[in-house]
Amino acid sequence: MSTIKNGYKILYQKLFHLDDRLLLIIAGSIAGICSGLAAVALRLSLESVLEWLHPFRHYGWAFIFPAIGALLSSLYLEKIAREGAGHGVPEVIYSVSRYGGLLRFRSSYSRLISSFLTIGSGGSAGPEAPVVMSGSAIGSSLAKFLGLNDRQRITLVGCGTAGAIASIFNAPIAGLVFSIEVILGEWKFVNIIPIAIAAVAGAQVSQAIIPEQVLFFHQPFNVGFPDIMASLCLALVTAMISVLFTKTLRQTGKLAKKAPFPLWVRAVIGGCIVGITGMFMPVVLAEGYHFIQSMISGTFSMGIFITFVAIFAKIFATSMTLGWGGSGGIFAPCLLIGSLTGIVFHKALFFLFPTIGCASEGAYALLGMTGIISGVMQAPLTGIFLIVEITGGYETILPLIVVSSISSTMSHYIEPASFYFKELIERGQFLRPGTDARILSDLNISELIQTEFIKVSENMVFRKFIEILKTSKQNFYPVIEDETGDYKGVIQISAIRKYALDPGMYDMIFLNQIMDTNVITASLENDLQEVLDMMDIDNMESIPVVENDRFIGMISKTRILDLYRRELIMQTSVQ
């Protein structure tokens, strides 16, 4: 091991230090391959376990499968892997924006296992978010091993994500776009190339192991002008449903947290409910890829009413699975809900206008998928490229763009935060590069603080203070207690001007009589946002920083502006 590391060190110093692009491309493709392998492993094992469990499905007691799966999955996450379970993708975004993409190594496998247990047993969830989580953790661990800096590490996290998505859907462009649009949030030249290569590597791995060309086969569609008009309406429907889906997911999660049960009981209850729903409506179970396939190829046989109910059943089942202790993503459920919506829409369209010359059901299933994906994630490009790639058909691209853009705009209008970002925005942790929030969180109080201040004692006579005043340039004088050195208050020159110009006062007062003790003070623990808020309350120009009763220094707005601008330049400039 150590020889590898030494060799790498020499290589790094000689070659990569000059330009890290080559390094990032090599490391990125490794990350892509590894996360691609993880994705393929999850997909294959899911396929086999679903097949193995299939014969048992029609027994009456089969509804406990999802319960057992959810139970095992939640216990595994909490007790063995000891992940603080969350949705995964927001955690990746959080770490990318706040900690330079540092992720725990355990994340690279824990979600794979837990989501395998959940989905394999029939829980309604998708395998995509778990592979994104593990892909990005693989990228992050690789960067840690190579000792890279934050910027490079973030690129590798993006590479891992792209590789995972590219591999599980066999869709390299969707992987690239998802990674940049959702995870990194910035389109930078230096990022795009390694991530694109990682995406291709991931897709190649998947093709090499599973030799099928596209995820869903279909007959060519004939898309005409009426379809574009119809897709406008479809977009509105998908926007509604995506908002409903997002809200239900969040509400169920909140409800589950309030429920007075231990974790594993919650998981069992949620699993049982999903199982029972699945008894009546098998379409809601597991990731549902093969139902999607049947819908696209036009062999889906459910009636319009049942299909309509199935949309809501799927939303319900997914919320129960994810909110009550299961583990998995919302990608596949989105696809299924989308295709169901498309089918219902198509059927309704023919019911109302029997003579209309529209494309087949399958095409509308595709459009519905795009609509929901773009609506729920509010990532229009990911929606378009994913559908185009997983079906291998470009003939529907025009209506796809229409549906995707309208659906994401509409759902953004109703619900400004997408499912992935909502939690982060609520916590104030949605820190995209180059935004105000990001700069404020990056700038540390200890970087802004000016520490060179003459401190004065509270028992000093005013005359002596006037002498100090003559020779120093300070506008603020911290007043401290003689014995302990504790901070007592602050003297602001502008506030004591009238005494300072009156020599009669010089020997009459002590500093503790004129100091201001009501000034709000900040501490080193505060972040800049809080400090600025404090300053706004009293309209202060400068604020004293006090830690453990000691005066540390002052923060002035001038200094903040100075450093804020520098930080903005640093974050937004092209590398």
Partner: protein, 224 residues
């Protein structure tokens, strides 16, 4: 040339913590030698121009300038000199003969300087009372290389339209190339003149060496 984190933090006007964070985030061109970070000046300049950031490599001159402007009063008096028995009967003639005696002013500028001083006296008398006046021009004199304070004792007291209407017998000329020095010297001088002991001492028309010594002592009491 190579710089350390501390050097660079001085040039960029930020604290070393910020530099370390930028290194961690991969925003600076840096090379690592052991546990220490090193920056190459050329690479830094390239980087700075690309990012439109000003690298302040020449801040040492500014500090030196600052030091130059705070010349002590005693040194200025030494530059300017102490002169006795200035003749004249009114403000203009006194000023004229005093300027004639001050050696450190180039001869070509003496008439110009006299005009300026008279103009200043017309605007508002510089006689501050107690028999003392501080004649000085309003604009600073760019042709001087060093600030001068010349002390001139008059042969006979002259009516100077002083604040307290007392006749003036001592003139303190303050002639500076820069306003900052001027204000500094004016403030230092008025500190001395507020001291009663010093004004009494002046009335005894002391010799230059004793006078400068006295100023040095007072200066120590009022360090700026």
């Amino acid at each position: 040339m190579e710089l350390s984190v501390f050097d660079l933090s001085k040039h960029l006007g930020v604290v070393p913590n910020t530099i370390e964070r930028w290194i961690r985030q991969g925003k600076l061109p840096v090379s690592q030698k052991g546990a220490k970070y090193r920056f190459d000046t050329k690479e830094l300049e390239k980087w700075a121009s690309k990012h439109n950031i000003r690298l302040n490599f020449s801040d040492k001159d500014a500090i030196q300038k600052d030091i130059k402007s705070v010349i002590p009063l005693s040194a200025a008096v030494q530059n300017g000199g102490v002169f006795f028995d200035i003749q004249g009967t009114d403000v203009n003639s006194v000023l004229k003969s005093a300027i004639g005696k001050i050696t450190n002013i180039p001869d070509d500028f003496k008439t110009d300087l006299l005009d300026r001083l008279i103009e200043r006296e017309k605007a508002l008398s510089t006689g501050i009372g107690n028999g003392i006046a501080i004649p000085h021009p309003r604009e600073q004199l760019g042709y001087l290389t060093e600030p001068l304070v010349s002390i001139c004792f008059l042969e006979n007291p002259v009516d100077y339209k002083a604040l307290d209407n007392q006749p003036v017998s001592v003139l303190f000329f303050i002639l500076c190339p820069e306003l900052k020095m001027h204000l500094h010297l004016l403030s230092a001088l008025s500190f001395c003149l507020r001291d009663n002991q010093f004004t009494n001492f002046l009335k005894s028309r002391p010799d230059p060496i004793a006078l400068i010594e006295k100023i040095e002592i007072l200066q120590k009491a009022n360090p700026i």
